[in-house]
């Protein structure tokens, strides 16, 4: 399983902060899956991190990974 977590305004789009999904091979596939499940994600701005490391291109997701969908940061 893969843990997918959503933050900030993305939780408005998804209605959840964390879900478990069946294994998917890579981040491109996971992103497509999430956009199908939560259509309003498509119009959102976000970055993706796998196991706390930001990914900018398609990246492999190993089983047991934690994948974060994060909107622009607004701390401080």
């Amino acid at each position: 399983m893969i843990e997918v977590i959503f933050f900030g305004q993305l939780t408005d789009a998804t209605g959840v902060s964390s879900i478990m999904v069946e294994e998917v091979a890579n981040t491109d596939m996971l992103i497509n899956l999430m956009k199908m499940r939560y259509p309003s994600l498509a119009s959102s701005t976000y970055m993706v991190a796998v196991n706390n490391t930001m990914v900018t291109e398609n990246a492999i997701i190993r089983p047991g990974s934690k994948v974060a969908f994060m909107p622009p940061f607004s701390g401080g």
Binding site: G8, P72, F73, S74, G75
Partner: protein, 147 residues
């Protein structure tokens, strides 16, 4: 990443002035310090159209934020001659007028402390996975945007 090195920076609720005072007072024994620089972020009661912000609720991807902060800390210690650096960021609901960020750098000479503090604040705002939800008086909210 050596997790032993990872310090917590998050505290539930606002940073209290008395906490800041204790933090300053603790440095009195470090007599090689010549200058301290402190930045405090305070929640503003901004007006948006006719709604006023009464609080910001902060959430974070804590684990990732602490790893990122640990890297920022290493970078800043490598770049500036600092005696020490302390960072505290609030989580949860912080009311307008309360302190939500406390960055504290100390060094022998003022320039390193001042430059390191300001760089640390910029990096915290740009790089830490933290989000602010601006809660309006009455009802409604909007998500904070950093500039």
């Amino acid at each position: 990443m050596d997790t032993n090195k990872i310090k917590n920076i998050f505290t539930e609720g606002p940073v209290e002035a008395s906490f800041i005072a204790d933090s300053i007072a603790k440095h009195a024994t470090k007599t090689s310090i010549g200058g301290h620089s402190i930045f405090l972020g305070q929640v503003r009661a901004d007006m948006m159209d006719d709604k006023q912000v009464q609080a910001i609720e902060y959430t974070s991807h804590v684990e990732m934020a602490l790893e990122t902060m640990s890297i920022i800390r290493e970078d800043i210690f490598a770049k500036y001659e600092l005696t020490c650096m302390h960072v505290h960021h609030s989580l949860g609901v912080i009311k307008a007028g309360e302190i939500c960020l406390f960055v504290f750098t100390s060094s022998k000479h003022r320039k390193a402390a001042i430059d390191a503090c300001s760089e640390c604040v910029e990096r915290i705002k740009a790089e830490l996975p933290v989000w602010g939800k601006e809660i309006f008086e009455g009802e409604g909210y909007q998500w904070k945007i950093n500039h």
